[in-house]
C-alpha cells in the first residue's frame, strides 16, 4: 500500500462525500437550515432507509472495526457476547422510540435534555443533562479520533502520522456538519455505512478463504487458542468485567443523546420501524465481520505487540488486495467521522437549546441556531486536544463514557413510566451519578470488587427513586406529557385499500 494510493483514495472519498453532502441540501424545504428543528432534526421528516444507515454509522464507530476486532484478538469470543448484549439493548427503541417521537412532535423538542427539562418542569435538569453529556461525549469523540490516528499510522507504517490522521478527521467532521446540519451528516453517514458493510464483509471473506475457510479457521483456534472460544477464556472477560462492560452499553440507545435524539427525527412510526430493523440487520452483520477479523488476526498473527494492531495488520497483510485494504481503511476513518459529526451536532444543539437559551431567556430561534453553529467547531477542537494526549486502550475509554451516560437512564425511564419522579430526583441522579463515575475512574474503578459500569445504574436508580420520594412531583407537566403520548399513539391509519 503506497502513500500515493492512500492520499488519492482519501481525495476521491472526500469529493464523493462532499458531493452527497451538498446534494442533501436540495431536498430540504426553504428554511430547513434556518430553524433549530430544521438544522438539527431535518424537520422531523427523515425517511426510514437513510435513518437506518445513519443510525448504524453513528453507533458503529471506529471502535467497532479497530476496538472490537482488537478485543476479540485479546479476549476471544467474549467480545461477541459483549456486542450482542449491546445489540439486544437497542430493542429499547421498540418501546421508547414511539414515546420519544410522540412527545417530540407534540411539544417540539429538539434535544432529549429539553424533553427531560420539560417533563420534570426544571431548567436545571435540562442543563445538567446537557453538561454531563458534554463531559462524557467529548472524550468519547476523542477516542474515535485517536482510533483514526492509530489506524492511519499503523497501516501506512508511519507515512501518515497520528497527528495528521487526527487533524484530517476533525476537519472533515466539521465540514460535514456545516454543509446542511443533520441532513448532510445523515447522507454522508449512509454513504459510509454502505461502503463499509460491503468492503468489510469482502475482507472477512477473503481473509477466511486465505486461512483455509471457516472450519480451518475455527480448527486453528480450537487447537492453538482454545481459550479464545470460551468465556472467561484467557481471563480478560471475567464475569465481573463482562458485566461492567455490557450493562452501560445495554442502555446505549437511551443514554447517548446522539442516538436518542434520532428518535425525534423519523417522518412516521413506519420510518422509525425501518430505522430500527435496518439497524439491527446491519449491526448483526457488522458485529460478525468485526469479530471474525479479530479471530483471523489471532490465527494468522498470534504474537502482535498490542491488540489494537489486529485490524491494521490484517488490512496490510497479503490476504487483502491493496485497493480493498485502502477502501476499508477509508471506511474506518469515515466511521469515526460519522460518529463524531453526529455527536458534535447533538452536543451543539444541547448547549444552545438547554444551556444558552435557559441562561438567557427569550433568545430567538435564529440566535440559538447561531450559537449552536458556533459551538460545533469548539467541541471538535476540544476532542482534538484530548486525542492528541494519545490515551491508550480504545475500548475501555469508550466504555468510561457509557458508564457515565448511564446517569440519565433512570430519569428517562421515569419520565415515561413513573409519574412520581421529580425534578430533584432527576437532578441529583444525573449530577450525583456522573460525579460518582468520574470518581470511580479516578480511583482505580473498583468498589467492593465491582466496576463503575455495574455501579452506575444502581447508584443512578437509587438516587432518582430515593430523592423523588422525598420531594413533590410537578403533576401538571407530568399529566400533559403522558396524555400527549397516549393521544398521539392512539391515532390509527384508516383501513387500507386492498391493492395498496
Amino acid at each position: 500500500m503506497t502513500e500515493s494510493l492512500i492520499w488519492w483514495s482519501i481525495a476521491i472519498y472526500l469529493v464523493i462525500a462532499l458531493g452527497i453532502a451538498i446534494l442533501s441540501r436540495q431536498g430540504a424545504s426553504e428554511g430547513a437550515s434556518k430553524s433549530m428543528s430544521g438544522y438539527f432534526l431535518g424537520n422531523r421528516q427523515m425517511n426510514g432507509f437513510v435513518s437506518a444507515l445513519s443510525y448504524s454509522a453513528t453507533t458503529y464507530s471506529a471502535f467497532m472495526m479497530v476496538g472490537l476486532a482488537g478485543l476479540t484478538y485479546a479476549g476471544g469470543v467474549g467480545a461477541l457476547g459483549f456486542e450482542i448484549i449491546y445489540f439486544a439493548g437497542v430493542s429499547l427503541v421498540a418501546i421508547f422510540g414511539p414515546k420519544f417521537w410522540a412527545v417530540g412532535k407534540k411539544f417540539g423538542y429538539v434535544t432529549p435534555s429539553e424533553m427531560l427539562g420539560h417533563r420534570y418542569h426544571s431548567k436545571q435538569v435540562a442543563m445538567a443533562v446537557s453538561m454531563a453529556s458534554c463531559i462524557f461525549l467529548i472524550p468519547y469523540s476523542a477516542v474515535q479520533l485517536a482510533g483514526v490516528g492509530y489506524l492511519l499510522q499503523g497501516i501506512t507504517g508511519g507515512a501518515v502520522t497520528f497527528t495528521t490522521g487526527v487533524v484530517l478527521a476533525t476537519v472533515i467532521a466539521i465540514f460535514f456538519s456545516y454543509i446542511a446540519g443533520i441532513r448532510s451528516v445523515m447522507w454522508t453517514d449512509s454513504l459510509q455505512a454502505i461502503m463499509m458493510i460491503v468492503a468489510s464483509t469482502l475482507v472477512a471473506f477473503l481473509v477466511i478463504q486465505g486461512l483455509g475457510g471457516f472450519s480451518a479457521l475455527f480448527d486453528t483456534l480450537a487447537t492453538e487458542h482454545p481459550q479464545s472460544l470460551t468465556v472467561p477464556g484467557s481471563g480478560l472477560f471475567s464475569f465481573v468485567t463482562f458485566l461492567g462492560l455490557t450493562i452501560p452499553w445495554f442502555f446505549f440507545s437511551l443514554s447517548n443523546p446522539q442516538v436518542s435524539q434520532r428518535l425525534f427525527m423519523p417522518a412516521s412510526l413506519r420510518s422509525m420501524r425501518q430505522m430500527l430493523i435496518g439497524f439491527l440487520v446491519f449491526g448483526f452483520i457488522y458485529t460478525f465481520v468485526s469479530v471474525l477479523w479479530g479471530f483471523s488476526a489471532l490465527a494468522a498473527f498470534p504474537s502482535l505487540e498490542r491488540a489494537d494492531l489486529a485490524t491494521p495488520t490484517l488490512l496490510a497483510s497479503e490476504f487483502v488486495p491493496p485497493v480493498l485494504g485502502v477502501i476499508v481503511m477509508i471506511g474506518i476513518m469515515a466511521a469515526a467521522i460519522s460518529t463524531i459529526d453526529s455527536i458534535m451536532l447533538t452536543l451543539a444543539s444541547m448547549v444552545s437549546r438547554d444551556v444558552y437559551a435557559n441562561i438567557k431567556p427569550n433568545v430567538s430561534e435564529k440566535r440559538q441556531l447561531l450559537v449552536g453553529k458556533f459551538v460545533v467547531p469548539v467541541i471538535a477542537l476540544m476532542a482534538l486536544g484530548f486525542a492528541e494526549l494519545q490515551l491508550d486502550l480504545i475500548a475501555v475509554l469508550s466504555v468510561a463514557a457509557s458508564s457515565g451516560l448511564v446517569a440519565m437512564v433512570p430519569a428517562i425511564i421515569g419520565a415515561f413510566y413513573w409519574k412520581r419522579g421529580t425534578a430533584a430526583g432527576a437532578l441529583v441522579s444525573v449530577v450525583g451519578t456522573s460525579a460518582f463515575v468520574l470518581l470511580m475512574y479516578a480511583t482505580g474503578n473498583s468498589l467492593l470488587g465491582l466496576p463503575a459500569g455495574v455501579w452506575g445504574i444502581v447508584v443512578a436508580s437509587a438516587l432518582f427513586v430515593g430523592v423523588s420520594l422525598m420531594t413533590k412531583p410537578h403533576e401538571a407537566t407530568a399529566d400533559a406529557f403522558l396524555s400527549a403520548i397516549s393521544e398521539e399513539l392512539s391515532k390509527r391509519r384508516r383501513p387500507l385499500t386492498p391493492n395498496r
Partner: protein, 62 residues
C-alpha cells in the same frame, strides 16, 4: 396481549446471554459453543423486534 409485552422475551434472551456461555458452554472450545449461542441470540433479537414493531405500520402519519 399487546405486542410490546413481548419485549420481555428480548430481556429473557439477554439474561440467557449472561448465563449460558458462562456456565454450560464454558468448556466448549469450538465454534458451536458460545460463538453459535450468541449468534442465535442475535437472530432471535432481530426476529422479536420485527414482531414487536409490526403495529408501527398501522399508525397514522399525520
Amino acid at each position: 396481549m399487546k405486542r410490546s409485552k413481548w419485549i420481555w422475551l428480548v430481556w429473557l434472551v439477554v439474561l440467557l446471554c449472561y448465563l449460558v456461555p458462562y456456565t454450560l458452554l464454558s468448556d466448549v472450545a469450538r465454534w458451536y459453543g458460545s460463538f453459535l449461542f450468541w449468534a442465535c441470540a442475535g437472530l432471535a433479537v432481530i426476529a422479536l423486534n420485527v414482531f414487536i414493531t409490526k403495529d408501527f405500520e398501522e399508525h397514522s402519519d399525520d
